[in-house]
């Protein structure tokens, strides 16, 4: 159909009428979403709004029931998830997707070896671990790390794949104030370095601090979109989500 069709826009990622139906349940219902290059964009919404399902459709874990996904103008709706990763898409999942039985170094190497030469690999891994402030844990088994450290490691694994678009599913979940602060700085720093970031979070202080643009989802549909100020001033959004968050 429109596979291979090139869409001209400055959007790095475009979702067109995307839906995911599980039997009669429309977890995601006819969503249009456009993420511009260099943007730091947040998805918020109550539990069950379809946020993580959208991430999974972007990464190819789920195939959309309807609609199409474009990445840099290329239709990737039916592309295998490993091919998407090699196009520059990377994800940090909600439940840490780290290899718990292996060391921090092994985790980083598994990601890095796919995307860089072995001559530069180990140095680059050290740089990333320093950037994430977990270099002192390089040889630690990942299961021994705190939740926050595992989240950073997973961000590090994503970065080792040199992504253009980074999807972060609740990067600050389960973190204390200091860790959250560090994560916020980290995300902003990455964005300044040119990585487009789409993230999900429930912590409105965190979202307020870093998000340039916010999309609100509710019952699988796009409910509102705008800057954080616009969203927080929107009474409907306050009623369905912010009021009780």
């Amino acid at each position: 159909m429109s596979k291979g069709l090139v869409e001209k826009s400055d959007a790095i990622l475009t979702l067109k009428g995307v839906g995911k139906h599980f039997g009669g349940l429309k977890a995601v219902d006819n969503i249009d979403l456009s993420i511009k290059k260099g943007e730091l964009h947040c998805l918020i919404g109550p539990n069950g709004a379809g946020k993580s399902t959208i991430f999974k459709m972007i990464m190819g874990v789920y195939e959309p029931t309807v609609g199409e996904v474009f990445y840099n103008g290329k239709n990737i709706t039916k592309m295998k998830n490993w091919d998407r990763a090699n196009l520059g898409l990377s994800i940090k999942m909600q439940v840490p997707g780290v290899f718990g039985e292996l060391s921090v170094y092994d985790n980083m190497r598994i990601s890095a070896q796919k995307h860089m030469k072995s001559s530069e690999r180990d140095e680059e891994i050290d740089n990333l671990l320093r950037f994430l402030d977990i270099i002192h844990l390089k040889y630690e088994i990942v299961n021994n790390l705190s939740h926050g450290q595992q989240q950073w490691l997973e961000i590090g694994m994503s970065l080792a794949s040199k992504p253009e678009l980074l999807l972060l599913d609740e990067p600050a979940a389960g973190m204390g104030p200091t860790e959250t602060e560090f994560t916020a700085e980290l995300v902003q720093k990455l964005n300044r370095e040119g990585v487009t970031i789409l993230f999900i979070d429930h912590d409105m202080d965190f979202v307020r601090k870093i998000a340039e643009k916010v999309t609100v989802l509710h019952l699988g549909k796009k409910f509102a979109e705008g800057t954080i100020e616009e969203i927080e001033a929107n009474q409907d959004v306050v009623d369905i989500y912010l009021g009780n968050s």
């Binding site: 990763a85 780290v98 290899f99 039985e101 060391s103 598994i110 990601s111 995307h115 040889y139």
Partner: protein
């Protein structure tokens, strides 16, 4: 080549010690004992194949015995049809390739079809049982490939040993040949598991879905490592066939399929050296106890497996390696070097 530097730890010391022992062993024993040890070594390849695909790649297979059979039968049919002894090394190489190819084709359909975990175990079990059942009913004279009768449950006899030129490898020569092949395969596998491919296999074992999201074509890697395991099992079958000069369906059957699984699990499936050592220990026990009834070894093996599952799920030999590291080597340092991807 910094990564290939060898680390001083219990596993490597024992690994080197074992090979040194095996190299001087013929100086002190009878030809009968050398013959026995040649047989043990031929079976080590089968355990190594399972350690590779299950311990490293996370693919649980009962099919290694079937690939063992494919190798043994192929070698027998190929060399006996040709009737020329100089062709035997080609039969060996082709047999390894055929075993790998058969495993690759089966693996392709399984892994690209999205079949994993226990279902791979079931499918490979069915393949082994089918092959054994089929071969066992090939007793009639109509079951011939070329001039070679398949022989039903009695299998094929008179399989030629490997000849290098006009020099037939027998007794102590065969022993050294098979030992050198083991050394080469063992070192090759040790290097393989710390290579890019090895790391990918470990990632797939740990978390398939995550590995896909890191950009790895997981079904392709699974198919490749399964094919490699099939080639190793096939090598085992060929060496076994040349060792005894015969190949039977039961050697590639159900009991034979469970044995390497138990050996790899009890010794430590995630460690090639451990799986190898435990295989030697088992076969030595089996031979020693065979005077008073072969089943005793299986009973001991069964007991060992239960103990392993209860107390040392990572394997007896691996646990002993760790104990040795704690006692004689700086364990923290050992962990660090391992993490650096050195020759562990």
């Amino acid at each position: 080549m910094r990564n290939l530097k060898m680390k001083l730890n219990t596993e490597n010391v024992i690994g080197i010690g074992l090979f040194l022992f095996l190299f001087i062993y013929p100086l002190f024993v009878t030809p009968y004992q050398i013959l026995n040890l040649s047989y043990f070594i031929s079976m080590v390849f089968l355990t190594l194949s399972l350690s590779l695909i299950w311990g490293y790649g996370g693919i649980f297979s009962f099919g290694q015995a079937a690939f063992f059979g494919v190798g043994g039968y192929f070698y027998a049919i190929f060399t006996m049809n040709s009737g020329i002894s100089t062709i035997t090394p080609i039969g060996l190489l082709l047999g390894v390739l055929v075993g790998g190819l058969v495993a690759g084709i089966i693996g392709y359909f399984m892994f690209y079809g999205g079949i994993n975990d226990v279902f791979v175990g079931l499918i490979t079990l069915c393949i082994t049982v089918s092959l054994e059942t089929f071969m066992a009913q090939t007793a009639g004279s109509q079951w011939k490939i070329g001039t070679v009768g398949l022989g039903g449950y009695n299998g094929i006899n008179g399989i030629p040993t490997i000849s290098l030129g006009s020099f037939a490898l027998a007794d102590v020569n065969f022993y050294y040949f098979i030992l050198i092949v083991l050394l080469v395969v063992y070192i090759g596998l040790r290097l393989f598991v710390v290579s890019r491919f090895g790391y990918t296999a470990i990632a797939i074992r740990e978390n398939r879905e995550r590995t896909k999201l890191l950009g790895y074509n997981v079904p392709r890697f699974q198919t490749l490592i399964f094919a490699l395991g099939g080639a190793l099992a096939s090598l085992s079958g060929i060496l076994y066939a040349t060792w005894g000069g015969y190949m039977t369906p039961s050697a590639a059957g159900l009991t034979a399929a469970t044995l390497p699984v138990v050996l790899a699990a009890a010794g430590g499936r995630k460690n090639l050296t451990a799986a190898m050592i435990f295989t030697f220990i088992y076969y030595w026990f089996s031979q020693t106890l065979s005077a008073s009834g072969n089943e005793y070894a299986l009973v001991i093996l069964g007991a060992a497996l239960i103990l392993v599952i209860l107390f040392v799920p990572e394997g007896i030999i691996v646990s002993l390696f760790k104990l040795g590291d704690n006692l004689f080597f700086n364990r923290k340092k050992a962990t660090q070097v391992k993490a650096e991807g050195e020759f562990t």
